[in-house]
């Protein structure tokens, strides 16, 4: 295949394909430098682990101008013997198609779900297009639990630097776990496996004009799967290394969309999480191994300055959201020296629950409210970095576990205030 499938002729192309067994989707936007590797890894994964299945790779593109879709068409492993394959392999189908609607990962996923649904696939997976550490085994680990163990949703499990995934570690994972009772460690990991049945269910939901169409898609997929009683597991994929993010990427926009989606889902599934008081681990697949990770640079002084600026200027917003004692605690924190700067777990959990409640009760304009969380989040990250400076990965995991317990213990207070 040499040319991109245009959106208007994709229907007839689908008809010519008929049905398929598995589909792997890659959302992209200007990822020409990395997507070739991802496509080859997926091809190798199909060839190695699913040689007899009819497999489709779908690139759902957001209008790249750097030739991403051309790279998708051209990228291929010419000689399968180079990856030690000698058995007969079914040729796989590649589709590169632009998506329409709100620009964002969620809209790209919607296109993939539509194609999966029309091909009637049994299992699907989605992987990011900027991954450098993806291997063919990722495809096996994301697809096989669905095909062979009848799971509906496979969340990823990565080894990450202790300072990475801070929104996940400090908000999304503990909150999702406390609310829905499932210990899915990377609920917004970005690389997921799921059944055709679940893809159909996702498509039927009326969320595609909301923040779910953007960064909110990951938490929405995970929460929807858990809250609707789909069978959930996780697979250990090793390290997650991807292209460095744009340093100018707006943290507050990211936080707004992820936290906003998480809080909105609390409203949607209130009847589900009300009755859950503890959490259970989910089945985990994959072989655990340690990976050397690149060091991460953190500018603590600047982080604390941002926190102090927030406390100084955004008090008028927070005083309607946070309990008075908590606001006073943050105000006092601006006077302490850097080495004594700490936001304890209890204060952080109260903060997140207060913001969730304020979003639910519409205390303030939603965007103003959620964006004003950014300085507090930066303060918490600074506190966490200082607390774990000399900790090993396991010790950091223990600290996250402790935070999760505080989230679970304080859930009763949240329930009482939720109304």
């Amino acid at each position: 295949m040499k040319k991109a499938i245009r959106s208007d002729d994709i229907g007839s192309y689908m008809k010519s394909i008929g049905n398929a067994d598995i589909i792997v989707g890659i959302p992209s936007y200007n990822n020409a430098s990395t997507i070739g590797h991802v496509v080859r890894a997926v091809q190798a994964g199909f060839a190695k682990y699913f040689p007899e299945k009819k497999a489709v790779l779908v690139n759902s593109d957001g209008g790249s101008t750097d030739g991403t879709m051309d790279i998708v068409h051209d990228a291929t492993i010419e000689n399968l013997q180079s990856i030690l394959l000698s058995h007969k392999v079914n040729p796989f189908i590649k589709i590169a198609t632009p998506y329409h609607g709100i620009p964002g990962k969620g809209s790209a996923f919607r296109r993939i779900f539509e194609i999966a649904d029309s091909l009637g696939v049994k299992a699907c997976a989605v992987v990011d297009s900027d991954l450098r550490s993806i291997t063919p085994e990722w495809i096996e680990l994301l697809i096989k639990p669905v095909l062979e163990s009848k799971f509906d949703y496979v969340a990823p499990l990565y080894q990450r630097h202790k300072y990475d995934g801070t929104i996940t570690n400090s908000i999304v994972y503990p909150l999702t776990r406390a609310l829905y009772g499932k210990r899915v460690r990377q609920p917004i990991g970005g690389d997921f496996g799921f059944s055709g049945r679940l893809a159909k269910f996702y498509l039927s939901q009326d969320v595609w004009e909301t923040d779910v169409a953007r960064y909110g898609i990951d938490i929405w997929m995970t929460t929807t799967a858990i809250a609707n009683d789909f069978k959930v597991c996780q697979s250990y994929l090793g390290a997650k290394i991807h292209d460095p993010k744009d340093p100018g990427a707006d943290l507050s926009a990211m936080l707004y969309q992820v936290a906003g989606s998480t809080f909105d889902l609390m409203g949607t599934y209130a009847s589900v999480w009300r009755g859950i008081s503890d959490s259970q681990s989910v089945p985990t697949f994959g072989f655990h191994y340690d990976v050397g990770l690149e060091p991460v640079t953190v500018n603590l002084e600047r982080m604390i300055d941002r926190f102090c600026l927030g406390v100084q200027e955004l008090g008028f917003v927070w005083k309607d959201v946070l309990p008075r004692s908590l606001f006073e605690f943050f105000a006092d924190l601006t006077d302490v020296s850097q080495k004594d700067f700490a936001i304890p777990d209890e204060a952080w959990v109260d903060t997140i629950y207060s913001f969730a409640l304020a979003t639910h009760k519409k205390t303030l304009n939603r965007e103003h409210l959620l964006r004003s969380l950014t300085p507090l989040y930066i303060g918490r990250v600074a506190s966490f970095v200082m607390e774990t400076r000399d900790s090993s990965s396991n010790e950091v995991e223990e600290k996250i576990e402790t935070l999760c317990e505080v989230f679970e213990n304080k859930k009763k207070t949240l329930l009482n205030d939720w109304g």
Partner: protein
């Protein structure tokens, strides 16, 4: 007899005739006044219930109006304040109608002019209220965005945006009322242009070194100064 009749009786008769015409009008006007007052009380009660049902006070809290009102000395909730305004608007409207009903030419003329001017007052008030709400909204958005961008002068930026939006609405309101139409527009243009010009000079001359330092830093920002945390 004839003279007395013409001097005394005829005017009294004419007065009596006019009184006969005027008295029913007066009575109608009095009824209109009483009805207007009762309707005003009802309007206040009804709108207070409606505003409570749509949670106007919650919305005013969200938009920061409640705090602003309480800072300005209004301790009552917004729903009550607007209901009261509507009550008095109803009463005033009926007073005007009642006055017109008296059929006194001077009063009629005055009332007619008042009626013609009244929409301007309403629109001007609406512009002011809207300007205040938008000023607060954009001011808050600006301050949050500036804090998240790490700008030390975030508070100042927020206040400047809020003030500018409100100033713009004041200008529009005064223009609507026809008070110094051209003067207001020219004054606004001078003030606004002056502020922009002052900023230009301040940044161009006063902040020359700061701007230079900022650009130099941006052009060759030392590696490792930025956070490399992957937040998601």
């Amino acid at each position: 007899m004839n003279i007395i009749e013409r001097i005394m009786v005829e005017p009294l008769e004419r007065f009596y005739e006019k009184l006969l015409i005027f008295l029913p009008n007066l009575l109608t006007s009095l009824i209109l006044l009483v009805f207007g007052f009762l309707l005003g009380v009802f309007v206040k009660w009804a709108f207070n219930r409606i505003f409570k049902a749509v949670n106007l006070d919650g919305l005013s809290q969200k938009l920061g109006m409640r705090d602003a009102l309480s800072r300005s000395g209004f301790k009552e909730p917004l729903s009550l304040i607007i209901s009261r305004i509507l009550k008095w608007l109803t009463i005033i409207t009926f007073i005007i109608v009642a006055m017109q009903n008296l059929s006194i030419p001077t009063v009629e003329h005055l009332v007619e002019r008042m009626f013609l001017y009244l929409p301007n007052i309403f629109i001007a008030a609406l512009i002011l209220i809207l300007g205040y709400i938008l000023g607060n909204f954009f001011g808050r958005a600006a301050i949050i965005a500036s804090v998240n961008a790490g700008m030390a002068s975030a508070g100042l930026i927020g206040k400047a945006i809020k003030f500018t939006v409100f100033l713009l609405s004041c200008t529009m309101a005064l223009e609507q009322l026809g008070i110094g139409k051209d003067t207001i527009v020219i004054a606004f243009a001078i003030v606004f242009g002056g502020i922009v010009f002052a900023f230009s000079i301040a940044f161009g001359l006063g902040g020359k070194d700061i701007a230079g330092d900022f650009l130099r830093k941006k052009m060759r920002e030392p590696k490792g100064e930025n956070d490399e945390i992957d937040h998601l």
